[in-house]
């Protein structure tokens, strides 16, 4: 890129002349920018569209740098590609990957208005471009890049000649930001406002919610930590709250050994049966002889029987 800058600098001194380096850069970046624009128009996916637009913005930024406006080029990349496109992407991702364009006309006459405005804009753009190419004579970069360089001169003119438009623009942006904040603001203290974490905890313990704690995960005696494994209560029954509505739970048949073990219905290990010939209960050697056998109600759990 340094060599490109140097080449462009040579070209800039001869006002209006296009050097080889500049031409090469233009014929690489120009088609890229156009390709990005076309891609944005024709991409099916909204995120792909945004990416194509980012390509266009990037090529424009590099084009500015080649044209001896490094500050403009990098600000283009930081602000437009970095921040604004990122916010677009942010919104598109929140909307979801499968959302496609709606063909229903929401506003009446929307397409007609869009067509007319689009044609008008194109006419404006083309006429302005034509005028810029034919009537305006280039004065070269010697003036803007004189003492202090491009960046310093840019700063100077923003804060002297163009101070008022600059401040006006910032006022506009601040107005927009405050407007957005007002629209998005919700009063926490108003009824129905969002609770803080502390208030939420207090409300939970007061009983304003169904239970103070989170729903039970895979239980204490569960053999897996998968969300499909229901929690078992101390009496061996399945905790119904631990079953997910959307995930198919493991059937109780596969859990029968655990349930039997937890509920204490397993016979105590036989000291003579070392080979495990009749050792049905001690699957992993952890049958709990300490648990009294009377606590368990039964192994038949209400939930978990082929839950949908």
């Amino acid at each position: 890129m340094t060599t490109g800058l140097v080449l462009a600098a040579d070209a800039a001194n001869a006002a209006g002349a296009v050097s080889t380096g500049e031409a090469v850069a233009f014929w690489i970046l120009g088609p890229l920018a156009v390709l990005g624009g076309l891609g944005m128009l024709f991409a099916r996916n909204a995120v792909h569209s945004a990416l194509w637009l980012a390509v266009t913005m990037l090529s424009l930024g590099v084009l500015y740098m080649i044209q001896q406006a490094p500050f403009l080029g990098f600000v283009q990349i930081i602000v437009y590609t970095g921040a604004i496109m990122m916010l677009f992407l942010f919104v598109l991702m929140l909307v979801g990957r499968d959302s496609s364009d709606s063909v229903v006309e929401v506003l009446r006459g929307q397409r007609l208005a869009a067509t007319v405005l689009g044609i008008g804009f194109a006419v404006l753009l083309v006429s302005a471009l034509a005028r810029a190419l034919s009537l305006v004579t280039p004065i070269g970069l010697a003036g803007p890049n004189a003492n202090g360089g491009n960046v310093a001169n840019l700063g100077q003119s923003i804060f002297t000649d163009y101070l008022f438009p600059f401040e006006l623009t910032s006022a506009l942006l601040i107005t927009a930001a405050i407007g957005a904040m007002v629209l998005a603001y919700t009063d926490r203290h108003a009824p129905g406002g969002k609770k803080t974490q502390r208030e939420l905890v207090i409300a939970r313990f007061r009983g304003e919610y169904a239970r103070p704690s989170p729903l039970p995960g895979p239980g204490v005696f569960a053999t897996a930590d998968s969300v499909a494994t229901p929690a078992l209560l101390p009496d061996g029954s399945v905790a119904p709250e631990s079953l997910s509505e959307i995930i198919e739970a493991t059937s109780t048949k596969r859990l029968s050994e655990d349930i039997a073990e937890v509920s204490g219905n397993v016979p105590a290990p036989d000291a003579h049966a070392l080979g495990g010939a009749n050792g049905t209960g001690h699957r992993n050697g952890s049958a709990r002889p300490g648990l009294p056998a009377s606590t368990g109600t039964s192994g038949s759990a209400p939930g978990g029987e082929e839950a949908p």
Partner: protein, 444 residues
Amino acid sequence: MSTAQLLANDPVWLTIVKVIAIFAFLVVMTLFMIWWERRVVARMQHRPGPNRVGPFGLLQSLADGLKLAFKEDIRPVLADRWVYFLAPVISTIPAFTAFSVIPLGGEVSIFGHHTALQLADLPVGVLVVLACSSLGVYGIVLSGWSSGSPYPLLGALRSAAQVISYEIAMGMSIVAVVLYSHSLSTSDIVTAQQSGWFVWLLFPSFAVYTISMVGETNRAPFDLPEAESELVGGFHTEYSSLKFALFFLSEYINMVTVSALATTMFLGGWRAPWPLSAVGGGVLNTGWWPLLWFVVKMLIFLFVYIWLRGTLPRYRYDQFMRLGWKVLVPISLVWIVLIVGIRAFKNSPNVSPQQVLIAVGVVVALILAVTFLLPTRPEPEDGRIELTGGGYPVPPIDLKVPQTPPRRRRTGVPGTQRQPAGVTAGEDSSASTASSKEASDGSV
């Protein structure tokens, strides 16, 4: 001759050599950082860390890298094919590019050519680093989106919000440096610190920069986009093999780059630290010596990264955002206004330092007066010490822990015999109660 002019005279082969050298430096730094991080964190946790492969385990990251390359490359069914492929590339390329504007040293002679130890010196060098970091976020965001799975998407959204917010604070901390060095070019910033480093002059900016650089690179305690305890692996959950390696690489290179920028902007860049800079009339600031100082200063920042990771727990997301928007950004804004005011006073011929000091004194006195006028927070009225949130039954402070029932004491389990006889019956016997209970449980 200025650095930009020196670099403009570089022949093409020298530029290529520099590019390759920077590439190699960054890759080696990544390998070294992984090893160093594991060793230092291990030391902080009283364990040896990797010590099997090579001397002191130095080749561990090389072995891990080779292993990573031979793993299966998986693409999830729901992934968006092209974006999923492009995302690691997009995150890696800007990471390498950003380092090209960092001045690693002053003027040296390479094979007879006089050049500076820097690849490119743009008039907007600092902005290049910012631009590259804002492009690098694309890699993270797109990887999260294209994986087609909820955890990566959440990580990507967090990362987008996080990097945009912290880039503002970072940019503002850079403004102060630019005001004092009169240039956005990195080599000019180093030159401007000849008489004194900006870390002393602009300490608030330095503090804001160091905090926001940790946020910008998604490192602990701000590693929310890849929070293991919440999002499995965050944005790179679905990645494996070399694609994952690219994310790993770009994360470490970004750390190296922002540390290098911090060195350049606040710690005098490649300049020798104070007592050494006076040796032999500044001989340590010439030739290849600066490379050493630069790397040492950069390693200090990188060590702080590791130190933070070994020490601090992860921030909650809203606290993290609050820190960025409500602390760092306002501090930077006030600080910028302050130094602009100071510089304006200093440069105007009509104002003497005396007048400036008087004005500052009046302002400080006014602020103090206002703070005295602020009402103090009311004390709790009934003189009781609040224990928890109001209105709930709490145990009284002078609650007596009930004594162990005599039946249990009499069982005479071995655990209780170690203790003096008087303690169990004493008033404050919670410890012995607990231990005897434990012991009696064991005997059943």
